[in-house]
Amino acid sequence: MIFEKRTERIVLAIFFVIALCIPLFLEDNSFFVGKVTTILILAVFVMSLDFLVGRVGLVTLGHALFYGLGGYLFVILTPEYEAVNFWVYAIYVMGISALVALVVGVVVLRTSGIYFIMITLAISQMVYYFFFDSLEFGGSDGLFIFMKPDTSIFGLSFLDLDNPSHFYYLSLLAVLITLVAIKIILRSRFGRIVEASRLNPERTEALGYNIFAFRLISYIIGSTLAAYAGLLFALQYGYVNPQFMTWEMSGTALVMSILGGMGTIYGAILGTITYEGLLYIFEHLSDDWMLFMGGSIILMVLLLRKGLAGYLEKLLEK
């Protein structure tokens, strides 16, 4: 069983049951379905970050670089007025993102601790400005997707990306796959060494492991998943722009994953939903929602040290 904790199983069961039902009962409310789709996509992004920060021990403040990259790569690779196959291009996008993560990873993993935080931030800022200042890639306006790709596999088409419910289920599938993939990796022999490297890097090296290699591979995995989330986000809204890769985006995702319970993976889903929910409430309550949001974050760091998942586990685990 890859889901070891009772709390984890309960939370995920409730989540997937509700998530599966939402489009069935709220088919007419496409705004709501769209909003939840966005949250699901963000959850994929936050889970990939939670994996890196909470489980591999790489505190990155530049994860949004890959979120934006996923969107940009898709638009850049596809011909402007031709519907391409979604799956084929998703693989292209993830493949190139993995290569970029390899190069970036080799640079950033030379540093550690506070330097790692800063250099990841700086590299993502650099790429942000690259797109922001570029003429070819639409500058601050970004790029638009004119044709939704088709999703047929071997000629069989069962998903229509223009249908909000279909897109919703595609995003929910992404959540499921990401969750299961990360959990399998964490349980694997690779995951054992990754865990050991986080708990005690010195000892792990003294046991004969090249921790750089383990961290690099993990970094590539986390970044590639983030790129997939970015690709979905770009497809949902039909554009990509430099705002995808701001450091605020990375910072917000960090807040979501801490809110949910760092390193728990399923907590990332909880954190994303809660953060977006709070944001929605505050935005409707007051123009000064940032004040409430900031206050909540500060209180959370001071009081809720193990996040929502930690709180629930206290209640549910014996």
Binding site: V59, V107, I114, L254, G294, I297, M300
Partner: protein, 287 residues
């Protein structure tokens, strides 16, 4: 590029670099002594600029406003350290990052509530409003020279404080060994409060000095923060000397980049930083 333009740009770059140093020095001081990474440092810069704008509008005097703003910033620093930062000393970097991100939200929001989101400007004080002739057909604003001199004076004062005074001795000792400072009978809590407050004040003073040269806009804190990160990473976290060298390098490089390759100018300092880290992963003046 003509020689004349070259020198004008060089002076611009150095002047910008000195301002960057002033901001970055607080960041690196707080990190070096207390091990705290304060992402809200840029917000303090913003606070300084807004405060001085507000007081100039009320009092009409730049000098009075500058002093008032700096004192308020010092008080704000003490308050923040006592209420929030103190709870972070035994936490990891991640918690520091998050709490200070929360602070950015709060400060940005307060700025918007108190002063709205319109851009503002502060007039250059009259006594400093002229220009010095540079060559036959170019001149340099007096205020910018004044700003550079103030930055140099503060850098010198900071150097004196860290290397020659009792407070500086404690700061240097606290960097290497917390217990030792406590063994000397010094209350490390007060030391940390003082250092953090000084850090906040340095950022606010930078904002005050920058106010007449730049427009005062929402978000000004974040953009300067990231540039400061680049400065301290290049120089080596926690090293004041490193921050000085890093700031001048970044100031000059980004100024020339803006002239020579405008479409890439924002990227250049980050590229430079990556190059530095490839050679020296801990920055130029790492401890």
């Amino acid at each position: 590029m003509s020689t004349e333009l070259f020198f004008v740009q060089l002076i611009n770059g150095l002047q910008y670099g000195l301002l960057l140093f002033l901001i970055a020095s607080g960041l690196t001081l707080v990190f070096g002594v207390m091990g705290i990474l304060n992402l809200a440092h840029g917000s303090m810069y913003m606070v300084g600029a807004y405060l001085v704008w507000y007081f100039v509008a009320v009092t009409g005097s730049f000098t009075v406003s500058a002093i008032l703003s700096a004192v308020i910033a010092l008080g704000l620093g003490i308050l923040i350290e006592r209420v929030l930062i103190q709870r972070l000393y035994n936490r990891n970097h991640l918690d520091q990052v998050l709490l200070t991100i929360g602070m950015i939200f709060v400060f940005n929001s307060l700025q918007s509530i108190l002063w709205g989101n319109d851009p503002y400007g502060v007039a250059v004080p009259e006594a400093l409003s002229g220009s010095v002739p540079f060559t036959d057909n170019s001149s340099y604003p007096v205020y910018r020279i004044f700003a550079a001199l103030i930055c140099i004076a503060i850098a010198a004062a900071l150097y004196f404080m860290v290397s020659k005074t009792r407070l500086g001795m404690l700061i240097r000792a606290g960097e290497s060994n917390r217990e030792m400072v406590e063994a000397l009978g010094v209350n490390i809590k007060s030391l940390y409060t003082i250092v953090f407050a000084i850090g906040v004040m340095l950022a606010a003073i930078s904002g005050i000095i920058a106010a007449p040269m730049r427009s005062i806009v929402p978000g000004m804190g974040e953009s300067v923060l990231i540039t400061c990160f680049v400065v301290v990473v290049i120089g080596g976290m926690g090293s004041i000397k490193g921050a000085f060298v890093g700031a001048l390098l970044v100031g000059v490089i980004s100024t020339f980049a803006a002239v020579l390759m405008p479409t890439m100018s924002n990227m250049v300092i980050y590229l430079f930083m990556i190059l530095v880290l490839l050679v020296k992963p801990q920055g130029l003046f790492a401890k």
